[in-house]
């Protein structure tokens, strides 16, 4: 499958389209609008970075796509179209079919995302038994092959090992292998390297990118780490308080962010080239999502805040491949 390059992506086929998704949690202390009107799309072969602080609703997006939102959570409105199919209204049986086979997920913590009581081989086999009609020999061969693909040597022996016999990095490789087993069209990676050692992070990221490319799959990379996204993703969608504040091609967004929040995220990445006395940070914390202020959600932390920001919520304005939701967007070259 040809790689989709965002630069010449005039109209490549869209694999996933999320339109105005609202996933709300109705708790006793109020409604948490974890995802509130989020739209984005993922093209075939593309890696889409979903960025935001913790509590920004990033993971909820992933679970919404898979239809795994439990009460008190509920997908209130919006459309989720995957491979031309409406997932939001798909039945439970159909969704179970899609999960794991068409859409796989890689979790944050490799220490807990494998069941400690089953061998790696059993856990891989379970996936294949569920989603393919291979016989035992074929399944075994496929498991060995995928484990080797993710760089685990003596794969046939390692199938008999338990998760605790692997190191953290190796476990994440296993998790990735399990995700790739049934050759999914889309992989949702939820902070896949956050729990890993920094030296391992780069290896795992490289591995994931190669796996995605080799399988012709697409990926949604959910992370708070802009550095990771800028390495990996073709497109970025920045979320703040459950809303898209900025989106566009990765290089473009990193080089010329429009939204002060994106700017803040970029500035808070340590850069060895610019030795600063103190790393820049975004002041304050994410507001209580049950008591969002009137107007822009970012107003209390924004260096560019004006009266308009406290009056009305900025709409998401698209210009070309980019979009931003800010009354006073940064112009090119502007720092703050």
């Amino acid at each position: 499958m040809a790689e989709a390059k965002p630069a010449n992506a005039a109209a490549p086929e869209t694999l996933l389209r999320v339109e105005d998704l609202r996933t709300w949690f109705h708790t006793f202390s109020g409604t948490v609008k974890a995802v509130d009107g989020v739209s984005f799309s993922v093209k075939r072969g593309e890696i889409m970075g979903l960025v935001g602080e913790s509590g920004g609703g990033k993971s909820v997006v992933g679970f919404s796509i898979l239809g795994l939102i439990d009460p008190p959570g509920k997908i209130e409105s919006g459309a989720i179209e995957f491979n031309g199919e409406n997932l939001k209204d798909a039945g439970d049986a159909r969704l179970r079919d899609i999960r794991g086979r068409d859409i796989a997920m890689v979790f944050q913590d490799p220490m807990t995302s494998l069941n400690p009581l089953h061998t790696v081989g059993e856990q891989m086999d379970e996936m294949l038994r569920l989603h393919t009609d291979m016989d035992a020999g074929q399944r075994q061969a496929r498991c060995v092959q995928v484990l080797e693909d993710v760089g685990i040597s003596r794969a046939a022996d390692r199938l008999k090992s338990y998760p605790h016999q692997f190191s953290g990095g190796m476990r994440q490789r296993v998790v990735i292998a399990i995700a790739m087993l049934a050759q999914p069209k889309l992989v949702i990676a939820d902070e896949p390297t956050t729990a890993l050692d920094v030296t391992i992070q780069a290896q795992i990221l490289k591995l994931m990118r190669r796996q995605i490319r080799d399988n012709g799959a697409s990926m949604i990379l959910v992370t708070h780490d802009l550095a990771v996204v800028s390495e990996m993703a073709d497109h970025i969608t920045v979320l703040y308080c459950g809303k898209v504040v900025e989106r566009g091609p990765t290089d473009d967004v990193i080089r010329r962010p429009s939204h002060p929040y994106t700017r803040g995220l970029i500035d808070s990445i340590p850069n060895p080239a610019h030795r600063m006395a103190r790393l820049k940070q975004i002041p304050g914390a994410v507001p209580d999502i049950r008591k969002l202020p009137k107007g822009c959600n970012f107003q209390d932390r924004c260096p560019r805040v004006g009266t308009l920001c406290r009056e009305s919520e900025p709409p998401l304005v698209a210009t070309g491949a980019r979009a931003h939701a800010c009354h006073f967007p940064l112009k090119e070259g502007e720092t703050e």
Partner: protein
């Protein structure tokens, strides 16, 4: 496999724990009694044809008038006390273990469902459990037995009705924390059905604390059954358990015929003592918080 067990931390601690060794020796003796008890006595105490009223109320063999055929003496029907105990232990242990298994099955299922699905189902199951826990278990068992009448099957039902709550609460708690773990999420994301996730992924991970609960509960159940039988609402007279033997002897206890009651009592004590010693050891070993 045995090599790994013998070199395991579990076995290492076991060797150094005198009460664990005592407990397991007692349990071993009782296992032999349960399995092979009738082989040790010539008389079948349930076979009326083998009973002779002339043998009634013989004292233990070391007292004056003792009969070497009846090591621990006889009761009013000429039934050997030892024979009664050996057969009665079987009944007691069988009831304790079966009721434990039944409670475990029902309680674990209820706890898994409550913890996994939460919401209204959880609230319903746990409120029933709370209500049940607000009554003494003996009271509930007594009430049920007086409603049902005597019989081993009814004792089992009464004990299960009392015992499932512990499992339900323990399992629900561990399930709640297991469900948060990513491998359960991963299983859902992989497209597994709920039933399979519960059986393959949650259940094995919540089993460990149950081993302790189950062990100690066998002891508790044996005692409750003994109490019920002593009060006359337990097992039928045709299948006397240790508790019923005590009751039968109790009528003549103060006439100096103490052996008919005291020996079954000592056996119950030893049995429950052994179970509890071993259960304490298991609790210390299997509970990571006490380590």
């Amino acid at each position: 496999m045995s090599a790994t067990f013998l070199s395991s931390e579990f076995f290492h601690n076991y060797k150094r724990n005198a009460s664990a060794i005592t407990g397991s020796i007692v349990l071993l003796v009782f296992t032999v009694i349960v399995v092979a008890g009738p082989l040790f006595v010539a008389q079948d105490p349930y076979d009326v044809g083998q009973l002779n009223l002339l043998d009634s109320y013989k004292p233990p063999v070391w007292l004056e008038g003792g009969d070497p055929r009846f090591l621990l003496g006889t009761d009013g029907q000429g039934r050997g006390v030892l024979a009664g105990i050996l057969y009665g232990t079987r009944v007691s242990v069988m009831i304790g273990v079966t009721a434990m298994l039944m409670s475990c099955l029902i309680g674990t299922t209820a706890g898994l469902l409550a913890g996994f699905y939460g919401g209204r189902l959880d609230a319903t199951i746990m409120r029933i459990a709370d209500i049940q826990l607000s009554f003494p278990s003996m009271l509930i068992a007594l009430f049920l037995m007086s409603a049902f009448g005597t019989g081993i099957d009814k004792v089992l039902i009464a004990l299960t009705a009392v015992g499932w709550v512990v499992y339900a609460r323990t399992v629900r708690g561990s399930t709640l924390s297991e469900v948060q773990k990513e491998y359960v999420q991963a299983a859902r994301v992989a497209g597994l059905r709920d039933g399979k996730i519960i059986r393959r992924h949650v259940l094995p991970n919540v089993m460990t604390p149950l081993i302790v609960v189950a062990t100690v509960q066998v002891g508790t159940f044996i005692l409750i059954e003994a109490s019920l039988s002593f009060l006359g609402v337990g097992v039928p007279i045709t299948q006397p358990s240790l508790g019923l033997l005590i009751k039968n002897g109790f009528d003549v206890l103060f006439s100096g015929l103490w052996w008919t009651s005291v020996f079954p009592g000592l056996f119950i004590m030893a049995l429950v003592f052994g179970i509890n010693l071993f259960g304490d050891f298991l609790r210390d070993e299997l509970n990571p918080r006490l380590k």
